[in-house]
Every structure is written in structure tokens, then in C-alpha cells.
């Protein structure tokens, strides 16, 4: 009774008594010389490759979701990296390469920053140009400037006066649209020459230097030798009158105010931090602590903080895109399982166990996903290249992504193939073989 009940239970629950039943099967079949069905990894891979390559259109259509997902992810990540690179490149060039040195103790000691300090700075590795540049008098002080000696009835205009050495002009990126910049010789001789900022020149009604116009700062005459219309690194000088330090001394003694002398240094990208530390010793080796350096924020730290928030956002986008890819593969794989019922039935009839069918479906899905990942990577790289080329950016892409993307595609395929594989393994050979 109990044995019969046991047999019946065993028969009813094939899954429950799977192991014992399998052992009985193997033993019984070994007696008549029937070994169990086996599918080697190499054969499974070969079959998947055949299935995928013999129906290329189906493969391409199936993997299109992954292509789009991976392509979008790669393009988004690459473009944002390239854009960030381009932005920080501009940022570096304009801001992050400027270091300003000034004297801490200017109220206790006479100003000691001279253009002699430019030379040791110029010798430092990483310095592109260095020079004095400062506003005469307290910041915001205006000087009465006119076309003639001050006298009743003649118009005077209040303008700032900036002192800049030849090196300072170069550092500020000053360009004249007419005339010329002054040179170190004029500076050392104390020549009374001046440059006008474009705005100041308009206010004074001076449009050209062909007739060597003269302006007066107080009683002091200056010959205008050029009009500056561009100074991207210190645009403030466009508003005033620019004189060499040699002449500035005359102005200062005449007006009783020099100013807060500064040396502006333009460094190579990435060298600003280093120059900030070294420059003080170069300027005054005996009293470096009396020189203070104003250094821009470390750009790499800045970029990191920008990137970490960007990265998590992009990761979310990539994951969502990949989810869409998984659903796309799962959908088409499920459809193809339904379409290929007859093939599944045939394979079952010639010796494929249910697990072999599952392996077939999963390996095809994995391969399809990997191919989609590869194609998506290519598309993404093409998009990055095209956009970067049209914007003049340097394309930036982590090479590890090129490996990770196809792997992510394969993983998507694996995930997508699991349910269809389970369904396929449950296809009954009888129903599948019916015509």
C-alpha cells in the first residue's frame, strides 16, 4: 500500500523526486547502453553563433533596442565628458592660469614690487608671462584728464590710471587696434607715453594716434601711442589710461599716491597652484612670507565636484536606457520562441533536453545583446566624434567604457533571455511538431 502510494506520488511529482528519478533513469539506461544527452559549451556557442549570423536581419532588429540604449548611454557620457573638458579648457585658459602676487606689508614699507621681480618669475617653469599691473591710487580713484592743461572752460574727464609694465600688458593679453604698445625701453627712460583703453579713448574723443595726440593727467602731458581694445584677462584696463611704471612714478609723486602694486602671472594650464607656491620665493627670497599669492581654485577639484553629480545622473540615464534594451530583447526573443516552436520540438525529438533548449535561447539572447552593445558603442563613438568635430572639442571617452558597453549588452541579453528560455524549455515537443 505505502509503496504503491509512494510510486504514485513519485510519478505525480516529477519535480519533487527529480534527483532519485534521474538516478534511476541513468542506471536503467546505462544497462541498455544509452548515455545521457550532453551539450558542450563549445557546441552551444557554435549553435548560437550560427543562429545569430544566419539570420542577420533578425539579429539586427532584435538588438536594435540595445543598440539605441548603449549608443545613447555612450554618446551621453562621452559628450558630457567632452563638453566638460572643453568648458574646463576654456575655464583654465581664462581664469585658472592667472596668479596674482602682492605685497602684504605695503603700509609699513614702501612698495617694493618692481619690474625686476618679473625676471625671476619668468624663469620659473610653467610661467608664460609675468608683469606689474596695478591701479594708481586707491581702487576707484579717478584722475582729471583732458586734452589740454587744466584751465577753466576746458572739459576734464575723470578716468582711472593704470600702471602696467610691458610684461604686464602681455599678461593681460592687451591688443591695440591702432598705434602700438610701449616697450621696456620707454618704461626705463620714464617716457611720458600712454595707452588709452577703447572706452576711455571714446570719452576723450580720440579715434587715432596718427597725429600723436597728447593728454594731460593733471599738469603732466602724455603722448598717446596706442588704443587698446582687447585685454581678455584684465578687461578693466579698457576703461582707463595705461602708463608704464617709470612714468607712473611721476604721476604718483605728483598726486601723492602710488597704489597697491601687483604682479600678474599667466601660467601654463595646471601650473597655477605650483607657481603660487614658488613665486613668492622667486620674488623675494629673503621675505617670502611678505608676499601673498592669489591662486585660482584647483581646477581638478572643481571638475571632480562637477563630475560626481553628473556621473550619477548619467548612470541613471544609462540604466534606464539599458532597461529599455532588456525589454526589447526579451520581447523579440519571446516572439521568436513562439515562432520557432517547430524547431524547438524538432530539437527535443532528436535529443535536446529542456535545459539544452533553455541554453540555446539564453546564449542567442546573450550574443544578440553583445552584438547590440558593440554596435551601440560604435554608434555612440561616431556620434561623439561627429559632435566634437563640429564643435571643435577634444573627444573625451573613458576607454574602459568601450569594453564595459558590450559586456553590459551581453548582461542585458542574459537578463532578457531568462524568461523566454524558461518558456521555451517548457514547449511540449508534441504540440510543436503538429503541422
Amino acid at each position: 500500500m505505502s509503496r504503491r502510494a509512494g510510486r504514485r506520488r513519485q510519478r505525480r511529482r516529477a519535480a519533487g523526486g527529480w534527483l532519485s528519478r534521474r538516478r534511476t533513469s541513468v542506471a536503467a539506461l546505462a544497462q541498455i547502453g544509452v548515455p545521457p544527452s550532453r551539450l558542450t559549451f563549445r557546441d552551444a556557442a557554435r549553435e548560437a553563433l550560427l543562429a545569430v549570423t544566419r539570420a542577420p536581419l533578425r539579429t539586427v532588429l532584435t538588438s536594435m533596442g540595445t543598440v539605441l540604449a548603449v549608443g545613447t548611454a555612450i554618446a551621453t557620457i562621452g559628450l558630457s565628458n567632452s563638453a566638460a573638458g572643453a568648458v574646463s579648457g576654456t575655464f583654465d585658459a581664462l581664469r585658472a592660469t592667472i596668479v596674482t602676487f602682492s605685497n602684504n606689508n605695503r603700509f609699513l614699507k614702501p612698495p617694493d614690487l618692481t619690474d625686476k621681480a618679473e625676471q625671476p618669475l619668468d624663469r620659473l617653469n610653467g610661467v608664460i608671462s609675468a608683469g606689474l599691473i596695478w591701479s594708481l591710487g586707491n581702487p576707484g580713484r579717478l584722475y582729471q584728464i583732458g586734452r589740454t592743461v587744466p584751465q577753466p572752460g576746458q572739459p576734464q574727464i575723470g578716468l582711472p590710471v593704470i600702471a602696467a609694465s610691458a610684461g604686464g600688458l602681455a599678461t593681460a593679453g592687451a591688443r591695440v587696434y591702432t598705434g602700438r604698445l610701449y616697450d621696456p625701453g620707454m618704461d626705463h627712460r620714464g617716457d611720458h607715453v600712454a595707452l588709452l583703453g577703447a572706452t576711455a579713448a571714446r570719452q576723450l574723443g580720440i579715434t587715432g594716434v596718427g597725429e600723436s595726440p597728447v593728454i594731460f593727467i593733471g599738469q603732466l602731458p602724455f603722448t598717446v601711442i596706442g588704443i587698446v581694445d582687447r585685454a581678455p584677462l584684465d578687461p578693466g584696463i579698457l576703461l582707463g589710461v595705461i602708463v608704464p611704471p617709470g612714468a607712473a612714478a611721476a604721476v604718483a609723486s605728483s598726486f601723492g599716491a602710488d597704489g597697491f602694486r601687483q604682479i600678474m602671472v599667466r601660467t601654463a594650464p595646471g601650473a597655477a597652484q605650483l607657481i603660487g607656491r614658488q613665486g613668492r620665493f622667486a620674488i623675494d627670497p629673503l621675505h617670502p612670507s611678505e608676499i601673498s599669492a592669489s591662486v585660482p581654485t584647483d581646477p581638478s577639484r572643481l571638475r571632480q565636484s562637477v563630475n560626481s553629480s553628473l556621473t550619477s545622473l548619467l548612470l541613471a540615464i544609462a540604466l534606464i536606457a539599458l532597461g529599455v534594451g532588456v525589454i526589447a530583447i526579451a520581447n523579440t526573443t519571446l516572439l521568436s520562441v513562439i515562432q520557432r516552436r517547430a524547431e524547438i520540438g524538432l530539437r527535443r525529438s532528436v535529443g535536446a533536453a529542456p535545459r539544452h533548449i533553455a541554453v540555446m535561447v539564453v546564449s542567442e539572447a546573450v550574443l544578440t545583446g553583445a552584438i547590440g552593445g558593440l554596435m551601440g558603442t560604435s554608434v555612440g563613438v561616431l556620434v561623439i566624434s561627429a559632435v566634437c568635430a563640429s564643435h571643435g572639442w577634444a573627444p573625451v571617452l573613458d576607454l574602459r567604457l568601450l569594453v564595459a558597453a558590450p559586456a553590459a549588452g551581453a548582461a542585458a541579453g542574459l537578463l532578457a533571455g531568462l524568461y523566454p528560455a524558461w518558456r521555451a524549455s517548457r514547449v511540449s515537443p508534441i504540440s510543436a511538431l503538429q503541422r
Binding site: 534511476t24 546505462a30 541498455i32 544509452v34 551539450l39
Partner: protein, 251 residues
């Protein structure tokens, strides 16, 4: 022990040509499909198939022919009764045991060929050998041999779309033969063929039977059935042995 192992090897060594003895045996086997109104597709039947025998199963469509063939081919299990293959009670076998035994014991030939459209004749022929962990060259050689046997040695690389109906069915027979089965189960093998190709296929099957293969042919074509030595009639799930006396001496 060594002796027994050798003996087992010897008996498993395919052919077993002309060996008298029981290949398959149904004992009171019946099939009932469950449902609101249970369908009794196969009434209890006891029948034996000897090795090297050629048997026709004849009946109208819906008579239970395919059910019988599915049970014989281990694609389905009898609801009641037992089915022995070379003495092994198949009710003891699990799904994978059924699969292994089916692959080694039976070759199938279907009415609609069931070719994989994107695989060549040779690739279709070696399909079953894939699940035996054989080397690729060994597999291909076995497939070529099988195609030679059915007279298609010159069409190894042909895609199914370029094969005629008769050729397709011969590739299907080659696919079954490549497995070196002991039994060939044919479900309306001539159903999609014209008379001339049907004759070629039946002659081929008869030749294989004479080489020691057990061949079971399900058909509704009485002309073909008459040419086969033993005939089982099936009607509404009831199987009856046709008396040999009432038959013309065929072939």
C-alpha cells in the same frame, strides 16, 4: 564486471541487425487527454514490435495514429499501462531519461520535413548529434555518411529551400539515420510527396528495414500500407492487428 561492460557495449552498438527479440512493447497502454469531456485517444492496447520489423499503422485522421506514434517515440507517456523499450520500463524515466532514450533509440520522419530553413542539408542532418558531445568533424562525417545512404551525397551544402519535396524527406531520413537509431518512426512520410517520390521514400524505408532497422510507418494511404508486411489498423483509438492472411503478399 569487465565482461558485463563489454556485453553492454556490444548490445548498444547500434545495428543489432536481424537480432530476434522484442524491441518495444506496449502493455495495456492507453492515453486519455483530460478535459471537461476526457478524450480517449488510445484505448488499452498490448502490442510488440520486433527488431528489424517494418510495420504500417493505418487509420483515418483523428483515429489516434499520431497518439500511438507519440507514445512509441517517447514524446508522450501512456496515461495507463506500461511501455517497455528493450525491457526498460519507461514510466521509471524522468524527462531527461526519456530524452536520452528517445535520441538513441528513435529516429523521426515527419510529414512536413521540419527542416531548419537557414541550415544546409548537412547541418540539418547532424542536428541530433549536437547533443552527444561529439567532435565537429566526427559529426560532419556521420552526417555525410547518412546523406550518402539516402543518395544525397552530392547535396551536402544545399539549403532546404532549394531541395525538392522528395529530397527534403530523404534529408529528414538521413537526419534520423545519422543518430544510428534502432527504430525509425515515420508520421505520414509520403503525405506531402507525389507518387513517384513516395515510392522512392518507401523503397528506401523498406531497404533500411531489411538492414535490421525497425520501421514504423503511420499512413492513411492503403496502397502504401499494403506494401508493408505487417499492418496495424487503428480506428477511434482502437488498435487491431490486420490478419496477414487477408493481405496480398506485398513487395
Amino acid at each position: 564486471m569487465w565482461r558485463r561492460a563489454r556485453g553492454a557495449d556490444g548490445s548498444s552498438d547500434g545495428a543489432a541487425a536481424g537480432e530476434p527479440g522484442c524491441e518495444m512493447e506496449l502493455i495495456d497502454a492507453s492515453v486519455t487527454y483530460p478535459g471537461a469531456v476526457p478524450v480517449r485517444a488510445l484505448r488499452p492496447v498490448s502490442v510488440r514490435f520486433a527488431g528489424g520489423e517494418m510495420v504500417a499503422v493505418v487509420g483515418r485522421s483523428g483515429s489516434g495514429k499520431s497518439t500511438l506514434l507519440n507514445v512509441l517515440g517517447l514524446l508522450d507517456r501512456p496515461t495507463r499501462g506500461r511501455y517497455l523499450v528493450r525491457g526498460v520500463d519507461t514510466s521509471l524515466l524522468g524527462e531527461s531519461g526519456m530524452t536520452s532514450l528517445r535520441a538513441r533509440e528513435f529516429g523521426f520522419v515527419f510529414q512536413s520535413f521540419h527542416m531548419l530553413a537557414d541550415r544546409t542539408a548537412a547541418e540539418n542532418t547532424e542536428l541530433g548529434l549536437l547533443y552527444r558531445a561529439m567532435g565537429a568533424w566526427e559529426r560532419r562525417a556521420a552526417a555525410c555518411d547518412a546523406l550518402e545512404r539516402v543518395g544525397l551525397g552530392h547535396r551536402l551544402g544545399a539549403l532546404p529551400g532549394t531541395l525538392s519535396g522528395g529530397e527534403s524527406q530523404r534529408v529528414a531520413i538521413a537526419r534520423a539515420l545519422a543518430q544510428r537509431p534502432r527504430v525509425l518512426l515515420c508520421d505520414e512520410p509520403t503525405g506531402n510527396l507525389d507518387r513517384r517520390n513516395a515510392d522512392v521514400v518507401i523503397d528506401l524505408l523498406a531497404g533500411l528495414a531489411s538492414e535490421g532497422l525497425t520501421v514504423v510507418v503511420v499512413t492513411h494511404d492503403t496502397q502504401i500500407a499494403d506494401a508493408i508486411p505487417r499492418c496495424l489498423d487503428i480506428d477511434d483509438g482502437v488498435v487491431t492487428e490486420r490478419a496477414a492472411a487477408g493481405r496480398e503478399a506485398g513487395s
